[in-house]
Amino acid sequence: MTLRWRNGAVAAALAALATVAGCGGGGSATAPPSADGPKVVFITNSNADWWNAVEKGMQDGGAEFGCQVTMRRNDGQTQGQVEKLREVLSMPDVQGVAVSVIEADAPGVVDAMRELQKAGKVVIAIDSDVAEEFADARAAYIGTNNVKAGQTAGKAAALLRPGGGKTAVFVGTASAANARERKGGFFEGAGEAFDEVETFEDGGNHQRARENVQSALSKYPELDVLVGLWSYNAPQIAEEMANAPKVRDRVTVVTFDLDEAARRHIAEGNIDATVCQNPYEMGRLGVKLLKGLIEEEDAMVHEVLLDGKTRDTGVRVVVPSVESPVKEGLEGEEVMTIDEMNSWLESKGLKST
């Protein structure tokens, strides 16, 4: 009797596991790549929400230009990216690789990129480039000019708070190329009235990112401006703003990109302005460029790169509403309200950008 009872329970438990496992496969499958054309692989730096938009652009580009595309998400570590690049080296059918270089001057990553080139594969950098002295490790770079993006964020902050103030900066790794460039650009664009009090690093740990915001608010009671340099910093700052409405009333929050979780916060006014890159276009143009380089179609390559070796996909600034001073004041930039951005996201089938 006891034995039977136990067997029944084991069978039921196994059935539960099987059901859950079965669901897992169905729920997490990505859209199948298109069946023909050269095979290309995108290697990310982390698994942030942001890459979903690149992936969508990449898939649409694959269908538009005729490429088989896959994305491999890295774990945020340099070693992980080196291993992913080496894995591609052992795939003879892959002809092109787009990589978001995790650290601009990491010799391991640069070496692996050069090995891929030696093996006859086309390598481009996307989103985050190698340092200038290693420019030979990639054929071209598609992404955001982060200094310019930083300047745009700085100008937006200056419009939101003309008097300037004490500024805390939040980022995963302050030494990363895009972090350095965005931060430098921010203070150039914002002007001398903005003083940096501290840069808080979280090493990519979201829980830590949240705790950093809390520490900043405790440590600097007179803080005026909070700047989130990486996409996940935005919802973490905004979350804390939502919890502390009195603080929210007196500080300015400027961030980069638009995580799915941050969309609601902009609509609710917990973020004053966010400078969004165009990951969808990076993905789409990345595929087009790889296809052009692999098949040596100069016209196609020229369409993407114009004349140089790099292509800036530009930024758009998103604000809560038309009343924001940034909407009219920021000249030469595309400024959208969150409602307009939401419509655009829906038209592309995206949840974040």
Binding site: A15, N47, E260, A261
Partner: protein, 475 residues
């Protein structure tokens, strides 16, 4: 004859208190707080008591208690395992897996199963109930009772907190200012008392109900409750399969939480199976799952973040007014279990000398199952809270949290050799570590706090454990 025997009873009592690790920790906490008070303005702290101190603000107290509560779930869970002579290295990965599984369950799997038809739904409900029965069997009557009481106490805490907050809102009206002064703390104290009464009454009720039932009947009742919860969740998910992450129904959230709790218990019980049946050392068994479970979380989430926006779910982990009472409930209940029950004494005996415990007739295998299941359950619950706090489930979350939890337990007086330590001490150890980390971040000016905090933490661990070894364990 030892020196102690020559002393008067009063002196012996005083010595016992002084030798208790909790006393040392309390002194250390006070010393660190005093240091933070003095270091921030520098030497002028005597002459300038009004200096604005970042550490001593209401806001900092909130954030400090919030993070202490979140990590506290992990620390008290691993403390039970360490006292029982084991180790659980899988905690960080369980956090990630639980967060991913809960998010997937609520957003994808439950709606998918519900829309797939009646047969898959019924099979799923039966499977969940069956898993509950299996776990009840593995845990035995005492272990099952402790887990059931923990769950009842947590549910009662959430209910009491919800009720308290609603009452407070209706009393406070437009804002806290209306109740500033003496009335507000009095109202708060009254609400906390009310909350504690509700929790105590629920636990007492469950205990009384449990006494009336035979263990097997109790297990079947638990399985039926879980089955009903999952069925209600499936029904709710099936009604609005495209509800989106912000409009999840309460039954879906409840089913997600219940199934994730079962997952945590299952992982813990699985560790015990690896250790008991396959005779793997605990270090190896949990090292294997440390790697394996994170990988599983990555596969299930397709290595993506999953955004969970449902407010009712998120509040549990992102609002300190929920996390702190939840943690205090768990800590109080486990402290009672470890300190005053037969099960608790058996766990100490197991950790102190496993062979002696076995030869004395203690069910050592089952005791291990209970210890690891509690640790697994609490790690899974912490995963849910961390997920609520971030609003996202991410397979990369919780990296190295096991080391943080073990550090808190060890600083709190737990011996990695087993048989020594307490939940009280672990909580104090955790508070000390949190204060040191937070305080360093707020006080240090020239050096980046994230760079120096590891060094400060290392020094605190060495001092605390060194102090324990020198003055306590030899007695």
């Amino acid at each position: 004859m030892s020196d102690d025997a020559n002393r008067s009873p009063a002196a012996r009592g005083l010595l016992a208190i002084l030798r208790a690790p909790e006393t040392g920790l309390a002194v250390a906490i006070l010393a660190v707080v005093a240091l933070i008070y003095a270091v921030d303005p520098g030497l002028s702290f005597v002459s300038n008591p009004a200096y604005p101190r970042a550490f001593f603000t209401g806001y900092n107290a909130q954030t400090l208690s919030h993070s202490t509560a979140l990590y506290g779930f992990l620390a008290v869970g691993v403390a039970v395992v360490i006292v029982a002579g084991g180790i659980d290295l899988s905690i960080g990965s369980v956090v990630a897996l639980a967060a991913v599984v809960a998010a997937k369950l609520m957003l994808d799997w439950l709606p998918e199963i519900a829309t797939a038809g009646l047969v898959p739904s019924a099979l799923f409900v039966i499977a969940a109930a069956g898993l509950t029965l299996l776990l009840a069997r593995l845990l035995g009557s005492h272990g099952g009772a402790v887990v059931a009481l923990l769950v009842v106490a947590l549910i009662a805490t959430v209910a009491a907190t919800k009720l308290g907050l609603r009452l407070l809102e209706s009393i406070a009206g437009d804002g806290d200012e209306a109740l500033a002064g003496l009335a507000y703390p009095a109202v708060l104290a009254g609400l906390y008392l009310l909350g504690a009464l509700i929790v105590a009454a629920s636990v007492g009720g469950a205990l009384a109900l449990g006494r009336l039932m035979k263990p097997r009947i109790a297990a079947i009742v638990c399985a039926i409750v879980v089955g009903l919860l999952v069925a209600a969740g499936l029904r709710s998910a099936g009604l609005h399969p495209e509800a989106g992450d912000r409009e999840l129904g309460m039954p879906v959230i409840a089913a997600g939480l219940a199934l994730t709790g079962l997952l945590g218990l299952g992982i813990g019980a699985g560790h015990a199976v690896l250790i008991n049946r396959f005779e793997l050392p605990a270090f190896i068994a949990t090292l294997a799952t440390l790697a394996g479970l994170r990988s599983l979380a990555t596969i299930l989430s397709d290595n993506r973040q999953i955004t969970v926006g449902a407010r009712a779910f998120r509040d549990l982990g992102s609002d300190y007014r929920y996390t702190l009472p939840l943690f205090l409930t768990v800590a109080a209940l486990l402290s009672l279990v470890m300190g005053t029950t037969v099960l608790g004494r058996h766990l100490y005996a197991l950790g102190g000398n496993e062979s002696a415990a076995r030869l004395s007739g203690l069910p050592t295998r089952r005791l291990k199952t209970v210890a690891y299941a509690i640790s697994g359950l609490l790690a899974a619950l912490a995963g849910l809270l961390f997920c609520g706090n971030a609003g996202q489930a991410n397979p990369r979350m919780g990296v190295a949290y096991e080391l943080f939890a073990i550090t808190a337990a060890v600083v709190g007086g737990c011996s990695l050799a087993g048989g020594v330590g307490s939940i009280r001490g672990t909580v104090l150890g955790l508070v000390l570590i949190q204060i040191v980390i937070k305080g360093t971040g707020l006080v240090v000016e020239e050096i980046d706090p994230s760079q120096i905090e590891g060094l400060v933490l290392g020094v605190v661990v060495v001092l605390a454990v060194g102090f324990n070894q020198r003055f306590r364990l030899k007695h």
